[in-house]
């Protein structure tokens, strides 16, 4: 039953037209495919302007796709029934500032079809989950950025959605708040909620996501389960060498993925095999190896590699 996937995106493209004559174009998305299975936590990664928010806006019916299709539970985003099962936190959320936090979450619940005692209970509950009890009766215009982020998160989960779409959920939060949001996402996953979220904080993705997609310039450049993407890579060893210059070390002829000369020491990274030889050669040449550390190929490395492959600049979409 592929039609009941929480998110299914096929060949999605978005071109923003600019200027008085609409003759300038920004290609924000170019033929994106995406499939999110029920219960998955799915990470959307990419540099600034890669098209992450554009994808999310299309899914939430805020922006219309230029080409391709997007489906939520098999329905187009324009269908209210599709959105009924979704909780959404936009990037830089802007709740009505003349309302108090509690009033805003209540309004969100009402617009999602909740009412009465059940709604009141649930509003209290979610406000507790984001630790906003103390400020719940304060008008939102008096909130700090992180408090706005928290109350907006509360309104996203108030209707117990089956799918959560979060655009940079931890932006603006203090370290404790970030940990809380991570815990909240984990708790939602325990409940079986499907979650799509985008972020620039790679450690969050590593801690939370089963699958990721990396977008660059509106195109998908990596996609897959986090474990597969990382385990396929050869292990890397990081070494610190004293007593030899970078030039001397490079003279041994091994491929170094990273090398930095600090004057008194050289820091370098190389593959597992090369490291063994390099170690011997360094010692023979009279150098001192003060540190050897095998490092895991991290999601950050994956992300940076993906960016390196993008031939043109990585920030933003194509402009013509």
């Amino acid at each position: 039953m592929s039609s009941s996937l929480p998110i299914e995106v096929r060949g999605l493209a978005k071109t923003y037209r600019l200027g008085f004559w609409m003759n300038r174009q920004v290609r924000a998305l170019q033929g994106l495919d995406l499939e999110v299975q029920p219960g998955q936590v799915y990470g959307l990664l990419g540099p600034n302007g890669a098209g992450k928010s554009t994808t999310i806006k299309i899914l939430m019916n805020l922006v219309q796709a230029s080409e391709g299709t997007a489906r939520l539970f098999g329905l187009p985003p324009t269908d209210e029934e599709a959105r009924r099962q979704v909780g959404f936190l936009p990037e830089n959320p802007a709740p009505y500032e003349y309302l108090t936090g509690a009033e805003f979450v209540t309004l969100a619940g009402k617009l999602a079809g909740m009412s009465g005692h059940e709604l009141d209970q649930r509003v209290k509950e979610v406000i507790g989950m984001v630790e906003m009890e103390r400020a719940a009766k304060l008008q939102i215009r008096r909130y700090s950025k992180g408090m706005i982020q928290r109350i907006s998160l509360a309104q996203a989960i108030v209707n117990r959605p089956k799918l959560l779409i979060l655009d940079e959920p931890t932006s603006g939060l203090d370290p404790v708040g970030r940990r809380q949001v991570r815990d909240l996402i984990l708790a939602e996953r325990q409940r079986g909620t499907t979650i799509l979220f985008c972020t620039h904080i790679i450690s969050d993705v590593e801690a939370l996501c089963e699958r990721v997609v990396v977008l660059v310039g509106g195109r998908r450049v990596r996609e897959g389960s986090v474990r597969e993407l990382l385990s396929g890579q050869a292990p890397v060893v990081e070494m610190t060498v004293e007593g030899l210059s970078l030039g001397q070390l490079q003279g041994f002829g091994h491929e170094l993925t990273y090398a930095q000369d600090f004057g008194d020491r050289v820091l370098l990274r190389t593959g597992d095999q090369a490291a063994q030889l390099l170690l011997q050669q360094t010692l023979q040449a009279g150098g001192r190896v003060t540190q050897v550390q095998p490092t895991r190929y991290s999601l950050e490395d994956l992300f940076l590699d993906a960016l390196k492959e993008a031939r043109h600049g990585t920030v933003g979409g194509e402009i013509s």
Partner: protein, 256 residues
């Protein structure tokens, strides 16, 4: 759907209240009290006529300005401040959003109109004047006029900026009161083109003179109920067309 509509409407009213629109009533009351002390050097009959004219006229001017201000900025502001993201992403159609927001505005205006009417009728009573039926009709039909103006403001602000919407809506208000004159003037012209344009303007603009029952109140002319109903139906119908237009444009918009 009814529940979501109600939530939007009441929230709009709450917004207006929190933004202290009640000040408008206070200013109106003060102005009314002041004006009645200024008019002194006339006969009792004229005094009462002037008082009634000033009261209804001030009500109309204040509320029309407020209606233009509220309606022309509403959608634009929601988009600019990005508050719309959190509402339109809910299981609420854009049509319901527009209608609910307009209803919130109309509720605000209705409450203000009611409050002003109470002030005005109390003042009349204090000067020993009777509250007449034409006066009540004029006040009630003012609400229909406000509905027409607000719906034009919504239609404009579904695509234009706040300033443009406000200017155009104000223009429509004045031209709307003159639309019958424009029609008559054009029909006397020799040129077929001008006649045709005059007719076009007449049918596109709202005929606000038809909703203005303040002259009748001033001369204490009782209008048959049927005429009042027809005029009200005309106003509501015109507003309906404008709302449909606003929904049509708004539903196709990107919010970014």
């Amino acid at each position: 759907m009814i529940r979501e509509f109600g939530a939007l409407t009441l929230n709009g009213f709450r917004e207006a209240r929190r933004n202290r629109v009640s000040v408008v009533v206070a200013v109106f009351t003060l102005g009314l009290l002041l004006s009645s002390t200024l008019v002194t050097d006339v006969t009792v009959y004229t005094f009462q006529r002037v008082l009634a004219d000033v009261g209804l006229g001030a009500m109309a001017v204040t509320l029309v300005l407020l209606a233009i201000f509220l309606s022309s900025g509403l959608l634009t502001r929601e988009i600019e401040r990005r508050t719309i993201f959190l509402v339109v992403s809910k299981p609420v159609s854009r049509a319901l959003f527009i209608v609910g927001r307009l209803a919130g505005n109309m509720l605000t205006l209705a409450v203000l109109l009611l409050a002003m009417s109470v002030v005005f009728f109390t003042q009349e009573a204090l000067y020993g004047m009777a509250v007449t039926r034409p006066q009540v009709v004029a006040a009630g039909m003012l609400w229909v006029e406000l509905l027409v103006i607000s719906s034009v403001g919504f239609a404009m602000s579904s695509f234009a900026s706040q300033l443009v919407s406000a200017v155009v809506t104000t223009g429509v208000y004045f031209a709307g009161h003159l639309s019958a004159d424009i029609y008559n003037l054009a029909s006397r012209s020799e040129s077929g083109l001008i006649q045709w344009v005059g007719k076009g303007v007449y049918y596109v603009l709202p005929n606000l003179a038809r909703l203005n029952f303040r002259p009748q109140a001033s001369y204490e002319v009782v209008t048959p109920a049927m005429d009042i109903l027809q005029s009200a139906a005309y106003g509501i119908g015109y507003a309906g067309v404008m709302v449909a237009l606003a929904v049509f444009i708004f539903s196709r918009r990107d919010f970014k």
